[in-house]
Symmetry: C2
Subunit: 265 residues, 2 copies
């Protein structure tokens, strides 16, 4: 069944939905958002009609609400969904974050980092779904199945855990890149020389799937003279030195945990 | 000029040298190491003759010493290099870490993470070189030029900074993967669902080269309700909660620095 879909929101997830869903054969009949600049921009890229007047939200089979967590409740109450399905795309909010007036509520949470302007391989993005009733569940599952080969049932508790894990492997990883790049730039060094190392670190992890067991570097070797030299090198940067110490300690703690696991095998 | 090379050591860097150099047209005439198990293993993979008796270290044009930092001094003194070039491969040690008895000392530091058993695209790996005299410099530069398209002059101070940056973008990144994976496993969640996110985070960084400006997630949005929910989810894991707090704060601090930079433009 080809669904008529309205996407609500103008952030990176809403933009991704507008790029993603048309390729599935379902039709996005409208993008609704209050931010007219971003709304018009996404409309310009995707050709999807944009609307900013709540009174003119289109009739649809499924409404996808991709707004900030704190706005989900309010936004979901400004239109009459009737018998349509309404989902939000947040990893952190319960189904009940959507207005009580909606009959068929659910969640469609994509586990990915979305950046304005970037095209992705959408079919591989994991989608975590939940619904309040069987009808909504079947309809959301059918939609999700056309969007991704990687659809999972979920509940709030597991989505929240996924969301935390995502912060570690995405936002905090990116922050390590940021700290490394800033440090290099501060010292007039060419950050491009880090790229093969960055590529290999992630490729190795994706190939093995066992990051704790393939760790390298001074911390996991407990090479204290090198760690000492690194801290000397960082002695004019308290923040970086502090993060260096805490993560080095954490690697050493984890190592002994891993060794214990291996010994128990 | 085709060099006769002896590689000394049996760790991951020594193994990488044994995989890397034969493809350049130079010949590794011997792998010398004290660890016979690892030495025989690398010899078995690469066909390079292995020797563990210091009295039988072969004559060569270039000796590459890839041992732990603390062993460089001792190992470089156990043989007579004569007029040959001797380099170590450490990012953290001065040229003078090599024995004073050696006439032509230098450094050949590869900025990459090497893992036993993994083949790499060696030509892209940055090599940072240094030498004590012009003759050694020219010979090391010529060798490095056949090994990589990415050769740079360096001194101890810049190598140490590169090495620290590498810890952030490699070891600490991998540790974030490790913490995320462990957390998922602890809660019975499928770690494979993180892979598309991990891949995209790094691809985005490599494509843009501006990690600080493409950061996403609750910290950079200063989304305190979500941060609060994450800390609730982590409330039974003090170590993870502590790292979460410190890195979240660091992202927020960095963000205001970036905004200031943009405003000054």
């Amino acid at each position: 069944m080809k669904n008529r879909i309205v996407v609500i929101g103008s952030g990176n997830v809403a933009e991704a939905m507008c790029r993603w869903i048309p390729a599935t054969g379902h039709g996005i009949v409208q993008l609704f958002a209050r931010n007219t600049a971003r709304g018009n921009h996404i409309s310009g890229i995707t050709g999807i009609p944009f609307e900013s007047d709540p009174a003119k939200i289109a009739k649809a089979d499924i409404y996808i609400i991709s707004v900030s967590d704190k706005a989900i409740g309010e936004v979901s109450a400004i239109f009459d969904a009737g018998d349509a399905i309404v989902v939000h795309t947040s990893g952190n909010c319960p189904v009940s974050e959507l207005s009580d007036s909606i009959k068929n509520r659910g969640v469609l949470y994509p586990l990915q980092t979305f950046t304005a302007g970037r095209e992705l391989d959408y079919k591989e993005i994991p989608l975590f779904i939940e619904a309040e009733n069987d009808n909504a569940y079947e309809r959301i599952k059918a939609l999700a199945g056309t969007m991704s080969d990687n659809v999972h049932d979920s509940d709030l508790s597991s989505r929240r855990k996924l969301h935390v894990a995502a912060v570690f492997v995405c936002n905090f990883v990116n922050h390590m890149y940021c700290l490394g790049y800033d440090f290099m730039e501060h010292h007039g060094l060419d950050t491009d020389t880090l790229k093969p190392l960055i590529r290999e670190t992630t490729q190795k992890m994706l190939a093995t799937g066992t990051p704790c067991e393939v760790q390298t570097g001074p911390a996991v070797r407990e090479d204290y003279p090198t760690i000492g030299k690194h801290l000397e090198t960082l002695n004019d940067n308290t923040e970086l030195a502090n993060i260096y110490k805490i993560l080095t300690e954490s690697i050493i703690i984890k190592k002994w945990g891993i060794l214990k696991k291996i010994l128990r095998k």
